[in-house]
Amino acid sequence: MKIILKNIEKKGYLPDINSYMREGGYKALKNALHMKPEGILSEIKKSKLVGRGGAAFPTGLKWEFTYKTKDFPKYVVCNADEGEPGTFKDRLILEKDPHLLIEAMVICGFTIGAEEGFIYIRGEYFKGYEVLQKAIDEACRHNFLGRNILGSKFSFKISLYKGAGAYVCGEETALLDSLEGKKGQSRVKPPFPTFVGFNNKPTVLNNVETFANIPEIILKGGERFSRIGSSFSPGTKLYCLSGDINNPGIHEIPMNVSLQDLLERYGGGVRGSLKGVLPGGVSSGLLTPRDLDITMDYPGVQKAGSMLGSGAVIVINDKHCMVDLAEKCVEFFDYESCGKCTPCREGTKRAKEILINIAQGKGELGDIALLKELQEIMFDTSRCGLGQAALNAVRSALEKFYDEFEDHILRKKCKFGVCPIGKDI
């Protein structure tokens, strides 16, 4: 069952408009232009599609909020800032099937009453940028973009906007600030972008993969989509397997797949023996071999105490030291924190210090309590998701691999030999 990769996985498929149309591309747009916005909204709500960028918010609802406000102009923004370590699925769509995204954004614009859209793409995706720009030009020539699209009264244009290397710009409100040419620091929510978004106007902001589901829903109907995979969060998911797995890569699978099947059947098995899995990148909590039978849909992963996020499934084998990895995760957040709010700016720094100390054999048992307290405070008081999630991995490592921390603190020992304990540094 392929929805997003149905074209990409065909042999010889090229990212140009002819290939896309040969596979039935832009039919969904033609259909949509003959539907009423309410009709489109109803299909998308029926599909039970939720956002694939991390927060899993119902897409139909997001579009409906924006549709209903009477403030104009409205905007459509695609989040192609893909920065969560372990996520590389959006790049695939951008480079290999750009028209799928463009078609979906035009449909979105028509539905909510917007005439302009932006694709905010991370600066390091050089190839994706080129491919997209070419695709936008092609779509303009075919009048799938531009004035009076396919003879209708609807006009829509899309521009590309390049990020410049800041993970936090993936957060929706930080992205909007960056798209306005400013520093990408998060805004206070509410108000949400659906009401106060780009240039303070109503804005639908969706992830690349979320958009990529839209043409299928228009063509086959929301009801049918809602029966795919998991009944809680239907559809397929692009799972990105990385780390200690035999076949790292992207797999599109209906969301009722179990973690075990994902790793064994699709990932070709773990390299070495399994120690832990971060199912939603470094922002998520660790799962352990005991969780292998969970269903990899949004509620399933949440019930196991973690989150699916963007689907960055990072596999960790038993050669790695959890103190070391926890420190690596925090280092990332410390580097990427935008510095706007104190809990995150200071919290990530202190957590990193504490973990480095432990790794060097200078830790105390009290440090563990401190880390837990830091996690709670940051979770409760950080302004955006970066700070709130920054210590998720650390918290779960403390819970599930406590003895490793104790080894470093009490016995001054790293049994994996990776931490600098006892070495001269």
Partner: protein, 160 residues
């Protein structure tokens, strides 16, 4: 001086974004690419044309890791240090590259501005971890030895 090189492109961008502030990032991109780095002159010019305080332009430049006031090497080596690459040995890759590229430390450039080494966050190449980029080119499934060979090839390029 640096303005001259960018003038034409700047004007195109100003026209494309009548909403002035939005033009800032695209202009900085152009300047960085044409001049190799950003300068005081560019800051003053853009601040004036876009009706922004200079401090705002400075803060934007320093916020984003892809902008810089320091001239970077001809080849910018971005080595991913995030977890999936780390699990596959990115630490050894960084060490090998630092050594091979004539002993400059991370975040520094070689004397002749040939290389700049930047340890960076995930590049979206985790399926071919450990990975790095040299300018726009992607290198994956690295081993320390492979990384050394790649750098060696870039080094030879100068001598040609």
């Amino acid at each position: 001086m640096s303005i001259k090189k960018c003038r034409q492109e700047f004007e195109k961008i100003f026209k494309k974004y009548p909403d002035k502030t939005q033009a800032l990032l695209p202009c900085l991109y152009v300047a960085q690419e044409k001049c190799g780095c950003l300068t005081e002159e560019i800051v003053s010019f853009l601040a004036q044309r876009l009706d922004l305080p200079k401090v705002e332009v400075y803060s934007v430049i320093t916020f984003y890791s892809m902008f810089s006031f320091e001239k970077k090497g001809k080849f910018v080596i971005r080595i991913c240090m995030s977890l999936p690459c780390y699990l596959r040995g990115s630490r050894e890759i960084l060490e090998a590259v630092v050594e091979e590229a004539l002993c400059i430390k991370p975040n520094q450039s070689t004397e002749a501005k040939k290389f700049t080494i930047e340890p960076v966050s995930c590049l979206g190449l985790c399926d071919i971890a450990p990975a790095m980029m040299i300018n726009k080119k992607i290198y994956g499934n690295l081993t320390p030895q492979k990384a050394r060979e790649i750098i060696r090839r870039y080094k030879q390029e100068k001598d040609k």
